[in-house]
């Protein structure tokens, strides 16, 4: 009996699944698309069937186990609706996709002023389908949606320096009326040269507004007079990074914009830097194109350059202060080069071969996995600050944190002397960065060419 059951079970695991989809609530011709969700939560279209008005069923076969959505599209942009289907190995699932029309009537205003001709994009949060419309000259708009639910909303208008983001929960009976009121809260300021006081035209500003409920990022640009005026600011803690050619990135102290605030003014002073051409070579001595060269001072990122086809990056460095250049190519490996000042910067950097893998297991002394431990890393005496580690994650998929099973696999590393400090919070990481120079790391490993595996055993305090 057990053998038979095992065979049946094995056969089921090897089998493929299917979804029978039925469309209800419309007699119009529709397209039925099948999308599959990847591990990062993104949906990817797998197949599409066109259904004429006479046909309301679509079948998708030979499906691997996974999370799918069946998305039904009509002729108009907002005529979209979807349902999620989890398919186990070998499972035959059925899904009914209901078209549940809702008339949406809205008005877009900036404070009390109509936002005429605003471009409004709605993105269904769960299923990620999206469609756009344009408000009329009075800010009025209308759409006929096929699906209720939570939507992200993005508003673009010549009256706004950045795209405004918001959300709306379209629920209840049709029609649904929506006052899309953008806050009349402004952030205005100027970007200046710290030495001369001259305005810096065209400086780029990366704005991050954080509250318990949201994190919103936006990009704005200073005008020819170095001035910027960002409208529709949401309350929260605002962090800005200003970038401009031949200047080190400026990171003014984060500040709070409160609910009651209407206007916040700020001056951003940027430190002029010296642009130094730096040639990057791989381990074979060939020019390395597309490699990022990051400049950091005091643990903060102050600049980013990318090598061209000739392997040369134009790196902005402080004129009279020390900095560290981090070379981070997409292909793996990296280098950290300390620079006393721009005049003495190394002009040619050859990267070591990315020939090592380091697997780190974090567990308790009882042998139980200790998950989600972040790791601050020092390599051959050079600390990798969290901002640089984040860049390495973005560029190389190198994640300095153990997963739910208490494992981190760091691939394509150069061999060397590696040290790690475990931490949980940003404040803890900052404290370690401040003191790392005078402390021994609790985790030390000599990473050799090839596979390396260590277990870090933690004892409860």
């Amino acid at each position: 009996m057990l053998t038979l059951f095992s065979l049946l079970f094995a056969a089921k695991l090897a089998a493929t699944g299917s979804i029978d989809a039925t469309v209800r609530g419309t007699n119009e011709p529709v397209d039925v698309a099948l999308l599959r969700r990847d591990d990062a939560g993104a949906w990817h279209e797998q197949a599409t069937r066109h259904l004429p008005a006479s046909e309301r069923h679509a079948r998708f076969r030979d499906l691997a186990a996974g999370i799918y959505q069946v998305r039904v599209r009509g002729a108009a942009p907002f005529e979209q609706t979807a349902a999620k289907v989890a398919v186990g190995a070998g499972e035959a699932r059925s899904a009914v996709i209901d078209v549940d029309p809702v008339e949406l009537f809205g008005r877009a205003t900036l404070g009390d002023i109509p936002l005429g001709h605003a471009a409004i994009l709605l993105k269904q949060r769960q299923f990620q389908w999206q469609a756009a419309l344009e408000a009329d000259e009075n800010g009025l708009f209308h759409a006929r949606l096929w699906q209720h639910g939570a939507f992200n909303c993005y508003v673009r208008s010549p009256a706004l320096a950045t795209t405004y983001g918001d959300e709306v929960n379209v629920d209840g009976p049709s029609p649904f009326r929506w006052e899309l009121r953008l806050p009349d809260r402004r952030l205005v300021g100027v970007v200046r040269d710290r030495v001369t006081g001259a305005p810096i035209a065209g400086a780029s500003l990366h704005l991050q507004t954080k509250s318990a409920a949201h994190e919103r990022n936006a990009v704005a640009h200073a005008d020819a007079n170095g001035r910027f005026d960002v409208t529709a600011m949401t309350p929260g803690v605002v962090a800005i990074v200003a970038s401009a050619d031949r200047y080190l990135d400026a990171l003014p102290a984060p500040f709070t914009i409160a609910e009651a605030d209407r206007l916040h003014e700020i001056a951003i002073d940027m430190e002029p830097g010296v642009v130094v051409p730096v040639a990057i070579r791989d381990a074979a001595g060939q020019p390395l194109a597309g490699a990022d060269v990051l400049t950091a001072t005091g643990g903060s990122l102050r600049g980013r350059a990318v090598t061209g086809g000739d392997g040369v990056a134009r790196v902005t460095l402080p004129a009279n202060a020390s900095a560290t250049m981090y070379v981070v190519p997409h292909e793996g490996s990296f280098a950290a080069i300390r620079v006393a000042d721009a005049a003495h910067a190394q002009r040619r950097i050859t990267l070591p071969r990315p020939s090592s893998t380091l697997r780190i297991v974090t567990r308790t002394t009882a042998g139980k996995a200790l998950p989600n431990v972040s790791l601050l890393m020092r390599v051959d005496g050079e600390l990798i600050p969290p901002a640089v580690a984040e860049a390495m994650q973005a560029l190389q998929d190198l994640t300095l944190q153990t997963d739910d099973r208490g494992e981190a696999v760091l691939r394509r590393l150069p061999p060397g002397a590696y040290e790690f400090w475990p931490y949980s919070s940003q404040a803890e990481a900052d404290a370690i960065v401040d003191t790392a120079g005078s402390l021994l790391a609790p985790i030390v490993v000599n990473v050799k060419t090839g596979e390396n595996t260590i277990a870090v055993n933690f004892r409860a305090r």
Partner: protein, 103 residues
């Protein structure tokens, strides 16, 4: 015994249909992208050229104010691919209150 085996097998087969949808997100500042299994937000969108995250992912959110060093200390480091290394001595960094970092 047979009942137990059947029950276990049924549970194993059903497990393939479970959608583990309790997901937390955060924005990665350097490239304005959404990072899954991190942060405290229940949704995140980076399809518009910038990162926008919101909602509360609740109990699935990692605690972001804990200090690991107050709860755990490194007892030893073992090399699992070769000869064992000597246990390291734990030196704990002091945690001083600091203003939030800009990135």
């Amino acid at each position: 015994m047979k009942r137990t085996i059947l029950l276990l097998a049924a549970v194993a087969m059903l497990a393939g249909s479970i959608d583990a949808s309790a997901t937390c997100w955060r924005c990665r500042f350097i490239d304005d992208t959404c990072i899954i299994n991190a942060g405290t937000f229940s949704f995140c969108d980076d399809s518009q050229g910038f990162c926008d995250a919101g909602g509360d992912c609740g109990a699935a959110a990692p605690a972001n104010d804990t200090v690991l060093a107050t709860q755990w200390t490194v007892a030893s480091v073992e090399r699992l691919d070769g000869p064992r290394t000597a246990p390291a001595t734990m030196k704990v960094a002091r945690v001083a209150p600091k203003p939030a970092a800009a990135r």
